[in-house]
């Protein structure tokens, strides 16, 4: 009896799925949905700023393509990183952002800024998921 009481009930998917979905679509959106306003706004500002800086540096968006294994890994991995930016990535594509891959350290930094913005958004989504499941405050 006591052990049954101590066992945590599994958190239903409908409790965390909207948090993950909104967290992907809008950086920090999962935190905002969970009423962690301050942290949500910080994430929104930092990730959006990183993505916009990447665009202003004329970074390249990856597209999933390639012939050999290394090229496939780089392009698919880079595209996945870009895609995790959520609405920022979708808006950039919808508005016709298509920067060719050119030489230069500023462009190179821009590409890394775009991918990192998406990867940081993944971290934000994981944090929101843990909050939704009650593992973090």
């Amino acid at each position: 009896m006591a052990s049954e009481k101590n066992q945590k009930a599994p958190v239903e998917m409908r409790a965390w799925a909207p948090v993950i979905a909104l967290g992907w679509l809008v950086p920090g959106g999962g935190h905002l949905l969970l009423k962690r306003t301050g942290r949500g706004v910080l994430l929104l500002v930092a990730i959006t700023a990183m993505f916009l800086c990447g665009l202003m540096m004329r970074g390249t968006m990856f597209t999933p393509q390639g012939d050999d294994l290394l090229t496939v890994l780089i392009n698919w991995g880079g595209w996945l990183g870009d895609f995790c930016g959520g609405i920022l990535y979708l808006m950039a594509i919808w508005l016709g952002y298509a920067q060719p891959d050119v030489a230069g350290h500023v462009h190179d930094y821009g590409t890394k800024f775009l991918v990192t913005a998406g990867l940081l958004n993944v971290l934000a989504m994981v944090d929101a998921f843990e909050i939704a499941r009650g593992k973090k405050s």
């Binding site: 910080l42 994430l43 990183m50 350290h105 930094y109 890394k112 940081l120 971290l123 405050s137």
Partner: protein
Amino acid sequence: MPKMNLSHFEAALLFSLLASVVLGVVTKNTDRERLHYGIYTFVCFMLALFGIGWLMYLGHG
């Protein structure tokens, strides 16, 4: 959209600052811990930036 022209150092500094904010926010449990971790990661970024920068300078000869 305006074009941003930054030096290596400025771009790395901006990257470190924004990444540190996110890493600080998502990692710890209290606001105090988050602030400390954010500052810690920023300092680590700076140490790596200057350390690797000097290594490349000295290694280049």
